[in-house]
């Protein structure tokens, strides 16, 4: 395996005891729930691919194939009953599902429906819900780090027992916003976990063109925070390393930077043909290090039979079918809804003079040739 063993390298600056895939306090039920969320993530994305090919998706489609363990395992370490919050990125569909996002919301978002969580304003999984504890990202990479520094600063100021988690990709670690945000949180000892999902690429850019650091976890010491690295394709290891960081944050120990080693098996978005990837690399990860295969094997070893997993798979399928039906039947937004909700006051922007009384701008929506050729 190319890089999945990185957790074992245990650099000087990494605290904790690295991957402990075997030791976990999770119950059997919780373990099956992890499986459920990973399967749901993958199958839901597969459904989106179908819809995309039917040209029912508006805009690009983003996959987290091969990264489901990283997303699900880390989010699972948060305590929803305590009001923990997370800020997902484009590969964190799994994290959002754990936090309570619903498949029909995701499909509606991708189909730009009027009753999608953003009412058709923002694309793909860019949405949030303060109640359920996740915050809608913007495209500008790194920007969510300062925002989550502020979210968790408010936890601290209000003496709340809550923790926040923010994801960044290997590429996003190069942004100024990442740096300013993590440093701010470190100084304030905010209860924040920063997960760097090192999936080897930022769009087409391999890690070595993104940073000269040997490993991204090496950045922790420069911020004076705890740093850990784990195998992001091992859902239990991911859960455990995140859980330690969440506990540390909750008990006043401040920020942890976790580097999860994983691999992006699909292109940046569906249109990307991955011509820049060395031959064989993707296959190797698919064959030797698929997080769901690995986890199913492990569960099997632990006595969970194939029929039990198949039952979960079936449940996932029917949930997705139902969600798809609901999403497809949903209406597109009302054009003039575009004017609503920019400010608390006034509640809507007035239509421009040439649109007074006009309800929609064009009768038929052209589908530009470039649809699907652009990214988040």
């Amino acid at each position: 395996m190319a890089r999945s063993g990185a957790a074992a390298s245990s650099p000087a600056s990494v605290t904790g005891d690295g991957a402990r895939s075997d030791a976990t306090s999770l119950t059997r039920e919780q373990k099956l729930e992890l499986y459920y969320f990973m399967r749901l993530t993958r199958s839901l994305e597969e459904r989106l691919v179908n819809l995309y090919r039917q040209t029912k998706v508006v805009g690009g489609l983003f996959r987290s194939l091969g990264q489901e363990a990283d997303a699900v395992g880390s989010a699972y370490a948060l305590d929803r009953s305590k009001g923990d919050m997370l800020s997902p990125l484009i590969r964190n569909l799994g994290s959002m599902l754990v936090q309570g996002a619903k498949p029909n919301e995701i499909i509606k978002q991708y189909m730009a429906k009027g009753d999608s969580p953003t009412r058709g304003r923002e694309l793909n999984i860019h949405y949030g819900d303060l109640e359920r504890g996740f915050i809608g990202q913007i495209s500008h990479l790194g920007d969510m780090v300062p925002v989550m520094a502020g979210v968790t600063l408010s936890f601290k100021m209000r003496r709340q027992n809550r923790v926040g988690l923010v994801y960044v990709g290997d590429g996003a670690t190069s942004t100024g916003a990442f740096h300013e945000g993590i440093n701010f949180a470190a100084v304030q000892r905010c209860p924040l976990v920063v997960i760097v999902e090192n999936n080897g690429y930022a769009y087409s850019t391999p890690l070595r063109k993104q940073t000269a650091a040997k490993q991204l976890v090496d950045k922790a010491i420069g911020y004076g925070i705890a740093g850990e690295q784990a195998d992001g394709n091992d859902v239990i290891a991911t859960y455990e390393v995140t859980k330690r960081a969440v506990d540390r944050a909750r008990s006043g120990g401040g920020v942890t930077l976790i580097e999860l080693i994983t691999y992006r098996r699909k292109g940046h978005a569906e249109h990307d043909n991955q011509s820049y990837v060395p031959a064989g690399e993707i296959d190797r990860w698919a064959k030797e290090n698929d997080p769901i295969d690995r986890y199913a094997a492990r569960l099997n070893d632990e006595g969970v039979g194939a029929p039990e997993l198949a039952a979960i798979d079936a449940r996932v399928q029917s949930e997705i079918d139902e969600a798809t039906d609901e999403a497809e039947a949903s209406p597109m937004p009302d054009p003039t809804d575009a004017l609503v909700g920019l400010y608390a006051d006034p509640p809507a922007v007035a239509p421009l003079w040439f649109r007074q009384g006009i309800k929609s701008a064009v009768e038929v929506h052209e589908r530009p040739a470039s649809w699907g050729t652009h990214d988040v």
Partner: protein, 325 residues
């Protein structure tokens, strides 16, 4: 009650709002023990502690982003930019994250970003900026820029209570140069409403911030020397713009001069002009003129700064030209 300066009025607003609402807190560089580069926040940390008056690292994007995050959770952060010129490093955070939060993700973002703005103080190109035009173009933000001490107080208090993000520019030339008795009680200046700084019949000057004072000086001079009656409109809020007040003054005098300290091209005057020709074209008896800074970075040497920035004599010249048109 006694008179207080523009700077003291800002400070008073901060004290009152922090006292009124435990969710209000301040963050910025050197605002704590030191009281800020201009001492606006002096005494605040002593009273409200390090948790509500936060000295931050030098990172404007993080200051603004963290404020947004806290605001989502119900806090009411007030960010200080040590000089407003440094807001440029938070430009992305403000225009992309903050301004769109409610619209794209139903995230409330009640926060204020404030800081010393403007020139006439030999501050050079990076300590004299007027960034209002750079943000006028961003739906989702509100922008206020007070010219008087009572508006400085009233607008800041309104800004802190506003449910959206308000950029509050305070003019450093005015900090200690103007004084006023504060209106009694819980003094709030409404956001979005202009103020008639001087009534007049012959020509209107539409302006805001430091140049309100230069406009008033010029108005007085041409009244004395030319018998002209000049109306001066102090916009106070730039976004949303008070179209009613603008249209009203145009209909009254039929001659308009727009004055701002900021550079000319792409400045706020353009937007005002466009609104006037849309809303009151037939009432215009003369071209709309602009007196603004020249289109260069603001140099620091006195003869250069004086040459680049608009002066009272320029306004006088423009008023005469308009009156004679």
């Amino acid at each position: 009650m006694s008179e207080i300066t523009y700077l003291e009025a800002i400070r008073e607003a901060l004290f009152e709002e922090m006292e009124r609402d435990a969710n209000v807190f301040c963050l910025g560089e050197d605002i704590g023990a030191y009281g800020g580069a201009f001492k606006v926040t002096e005494g605040l940390m002593a009273k409200y502690g390090e948790e509500r008056v936060i000295d931050t690292p030098i990172s404007e994007a993080a200051i603004i982003g963290a404020a947004a995050g806290a605001a989502h959770m119900g806090m009411r952060p007030v960010c200080e930019m040590q000089f407003i010129d440094f807001i440029s490093t938070g430009y992305d955070m403000l225009t992309n994250y903050v301004a769109t939060a409610r619209y794209r993700a139903m995230l409330p973002c009640p926060m204020v970003v404030r800081g010393p703005s403007g020139g006439y103080v030999r501050g050079g190109p990076f300590h004299s900026q007027n960034p209002e035009a750079a943000f006028l173009h961003t739906p989702g933000l509100k922008i206020v820029y007070p010219a008087t001490a009572s508006d400085a107080k009233g607008l800041l208090k309104s800004a802190i209570r506003d449910d959206d993000c308000v950029l509050y520019f305070e003019h450093k030339y005015l900090y200690r140069r103007i004084k006023e008795e504060m209106p009694s009680g819980d003094h709030l200046t409404p956001i979005g409403k202009a103020r008639i700084a001087r009534e007049g019949r012959d020509v209107s000057i539409i302006t805001y911030a430091s140049t309100v004072w230069k406009a008033l000086e010029a108005a007085e001079q041409v009244e004395k020397e030319d018998g002209l009656s000049v109306e001066v409109v102090d916009l106070r809020t730039l976004l949303p713009m008070d179209d009613d007040a603008i249209t009203a003054t145009v209909k009254k005098t039929n001659r308009v001069l727009i004055v701002h300290e900021d550079t000319r091209t792409g400045g706020v005057a353009g937007e005002i002009t466009a609104r006037i020709t849309e809303n009151a074209f037939e009432w215009l008896d003369a071209p709309i003129l602009r007196v603004t800074a020249a289109d260069v970075p603001l140099p620091y040497s006195p003869p250069l700064e004086d040459y680049v920035l608009p002066q009272t004599s320029d306004i006088v010249l423009a008023l005469r030209k308009l009156a004679a048109y």
